[in-house]
């Protein structure tokens, strides 16, 4: 392949990085706003870089608002959803890929169908169901609701990870006298582990970001997750504190930043597997 000239390489770099920084600008602006004092926000014209840096908004967020409470709720909720969904989906996808029984094909199609189903169709019956069972306003009701979108998603993702594991490995273990379950634990699970981690991360992020079910199913601060909790802070009638809201936005994205910093390759892997290949 002919080498591109130095000039064109520099040009490509400049164009690419301009695009990247433009895309990232809203996020940079979010961080900058969160460390500006409130008085600086209302200056016309606005300052770009903060003239004085303050972390008071973060301090106030953690001490004066129910933010930590919402954070804990979101954590409990997302972790529980992820655990339930991953256990069920790992077994389920293994079964869908490696076993033959009646209805298997129909089931796979059903999984794909529900993967595309809008939450808004299920929300009213689910809401009435939770009311009927006396479960509304519990973390449990949200875990149930979240499985409706997370389980099809996880099944679909894991299914393609599982399908990628060579069948010979399992057969070899079976020939060596391992039971089917033994082979699953000793051979399949270790092989599927990266895929499982990737799916778990996706499930966690989906649950962490969910808004509609939390809006409808939960009305108490003791179970309210971050998404609806932080939005509640915006629509109050007494004051809109953008610096506080930006600090909340940054803090809310902390788990995501951690995942990005250390586990990003798993996310890209997930993309490659289920999300696009279909």
């Amino acid at each position: 392949m002919q080498r591109p000239s130095v000039g064109s390489r520099i040009l490509v770099n400049i164009v690419t990085w301009t695009v990247v920084l433009t895309v990232a600008f809203p996020l940079i602006w979010m961080v900058l706003t969160s460390i500006k004092p409130q008085s600086e926000l209302f200056r016309i014209p606005p300052t770009f870089l903060p003239q004085s840096i303050t972390f008071e908004h973060y301090w106030r967020l953690l001490t004066e608002t129910p933010f930590l409470n919402y954070f804990r709720n979101s954590m409990v909720l997302s972790v529980s959803t992820t655990v339930v969904v991953i256990v069920v989906a790992t077994l389920g996808s293994y079964s869908l890929v490696r076993f033959r029984y009646r209805g298997r094909e129909a089931l796979a199609t059903l999984v794909l169908f529900t993967y595309l189903l809008p939450s808004v169709v299920l929300i009213i019956p689910l809401y009435l169901m939770m009311v009927g069972l006396g479960l509304s306003n519990t973390v449990f009701s949200l875990v149930i609701a979240y499985t409706t979108f997370a389980l099809p998603y996880a099944l679909w993702l894991l299914r393609s990870f599982m399908a990628g594991i060579p069948e010979d490995l399992e057969s070899a273990a079976l020939v060596d006298g391992a039971s089917r379950i033994g082979a699953f634990v000793d051979v399949i699970l270790p092989q599927a582990l990266p895929g499982i981690i990737s799916t778990a991360l996706f499930t966690f992020i989906l649950s962490w970001n969910e808004y509609l079910y939390a809006l409808v199913l939960v009305n108490s601060d003791s179970v309210r997750p971050l998404t609806t909790g932080v939005m509640n802070m915006l629509i109050t009638s007494f004051n809109i504190e953008w610096s506080l809201l930006m600090a909340a936005s940054v803090m809310m994205s902390v788990p995501l930043i951690i995942i990005f910093a250390f586990l990003q390759s798993f996310l890209t892997r997930g993309f490659g597997a289920g999300a696009v290949k279909g």
Partner: protein, 448 residues
């Protein structure tokens, strides 16, 4: 509805609950209920859309004192919002997962819920607070058609005062506060410029726009309903009000098309608009967030179309009420009455001085209540707001001649009036046709 439909009506609730029960294994049910029953104490949930940091601190003190005086009762305060309470409460009523005490909702919302059988009669709580402590007639807006009280006022609010900046008026050569719409418009025109806009009127598709615009209809000499609650909105007064409101849009910040209470307040407090339309909270917020203009801020009643039309002030009559479906009603009533006890109640009022004004004359006269920096700094403004609020009205109770309108809450929640404003102001549709449509919509809502 067909006769067949009517016969099914009684069993709806069971049908829905059966639907839920059939859906999931019983194990799920027990898991959920054990989670909830784990608290041995009685927990009372208290909702309010009034939840600024200072108010939260005051509530906390009141809660702590109440819990100390009533061992075994825990109180959990949860904020809601002016624009969000309607859907939140609809869901809460449907699920039966209700807060025990709800405060600061407008009186008409309580009346609407009561008419649907969702609110507990409040007479005994009013007695516990002390009927003779109230200003005369303070609870009239809470009287239901059946003669019972549906709640009580926790305060009075003059929610649509015209806020002004003396410095900007002086700079623009405006001597007196505007009294008519023409004067207001020309004052705003003179003061607009250099990044400052004339007014932060709300044009959003939300309850504030509906509530504020009702005031403009009255200030043009009209009303939404006749005293017998026939739809009376299709009148010259409404056209005039729409025309004025439309002419003001160029004097408002561009984002006013989405404004509700918070944005409108922040616009005036931050100095971005020369006038404001809000209640007394302006005073506390200006002093805390923009002290540079604190000495320049004052308020008057909002101007009317012409000087022969009397002023009309929007008072939402912030309420206290108890949902009929709530558990632990006795404890809830105890808490509701406790909220009016002097040291705590005064601290609560001081959290937003001049915003929520006392309904108990015993409190208004209490030296402890008068002993507040802001109340002492702005005596004229506070007195004016108190007088305006006492003579104030809202859609549930448009004038002294009007019957109580039990559908007002639903009409506000439907955004029908805000939609009318948006169609005329933003889309430039013909006012007569739009008002005609709105009148039909209101009739539908009244008959639904």
């Amino acid at each position: 509805m067909t006769p067949k439909g009517l016969s099914m009506k009684a069993s709806r609730r069971q049908v829905l609950q059966g639907m839920g029960a059939a859906g999931l294994a019983a194990a799920a049910g027990t898991l959920g209920s054990t989670q909830r029953a784990s608290a041995q104490d009685v927990t009372l949930r208290w909702w309010s859309p009034q939840s600024s940091p200072a108010q939260l601190a005051a509530y906390k003190t009141q809660i702590a004192a109440f819990e100390a005086a009533n061992p075994g009762i825990k109180v959990l305060f949860e904020p809601t919002s002016d624009e969000g309470y309607a859907p939140q409460l609809a869901a809460a009523f449907a699920s039966g997962e209700l807060p025990q005490v709800i405060t600061h909702l407008p009186s008409f919302a309580v009346q609407t819920y009561y008419a649907q059988g969702l609110v507990e009669p409040f007479d005994d709580v009013i007695q516990a607070i002390g009927t003779d402590k109230y200003y005369a007639g303070a609870n009239d807006v809470y009287k239901a058609a059946d003669g019972k009280y549906v709640g009580t006022g926790i305060g009075n609010t003059a929610a649509d005062m015209l806020w002004l900046r003396r410095d900007l008026m002086e700079k623009a050569g405006i001597g007196d506060a505007p009294r008519t719409w023409d004067e207001l418009r020309s004052a705003c025109q003179k003061m607009q410029g250099n990044g400052v806009y004339g007014a932060p009127l709300p044009y959003g598709l939300n309850s504030m726009t509906s509530l504020i615009f009702i005031g403009f209809i009255h200030r043009a000499g009209g009303s939404v309903f006749s005293p017998d609650l026939d739809v009376a909105i299709d009148s010259q007064a409404t056209y005039d009000a729409l025309e004025f409101y439309k002419s003001m849009q160029e004097l408002c910040p561009p984002g006013a098309t989405g404004y509700s209470w918070g944005e409108s307040l922040t616009a005036f407090v931050s100095g971005a608009t020369a006038t404001g339309i809000y209640a007394g909270r302006v005073l506390a917020n200006v002093n805390a967030q923009n002290p540079g203009i604190a000495d320049q801020v004052t308020c008057v009643t909002y101007p009317t179309m012409s000087s022969d039309i009397p002023a009309w002030t929007f008072n939402d009559f912030p309420s206290v009420f108890i949902p009929a479906g709530a558990q632990h009603k006795d404890e809830a009533k105890k808490l509701a009455a406790y909220l009016f006890q002097p040291p705590g109640y005064i601290e609560q009022l001081h959290a937003a001085p001049g915003h929520v004004l006392p309904v108990l004359k015993t409190i208004a006269e209490d030296p402890a209540y008068q002993n507040n920096e802001i109340i002492q700094k702005y005596p004229e403004e506070i007195d004016l707001m108190a007088a305006s609020a006492a003579a104030g009205h809202n859609l549930g109770y448009e004038t002294p001649e009007h019957q109580s309108n039990a559908k007002a809450g639903e009409i506000i929640a439907s955004n029908a009036l805000a939609e009318m404003v948006q169609r005329v102001v933003l889309s430039g549709e013909d006012a007569k046709a739009v008002v005609g449509d709105t009148a039909k919509r209101l009739e539908e809502l009244m008959n639904s």
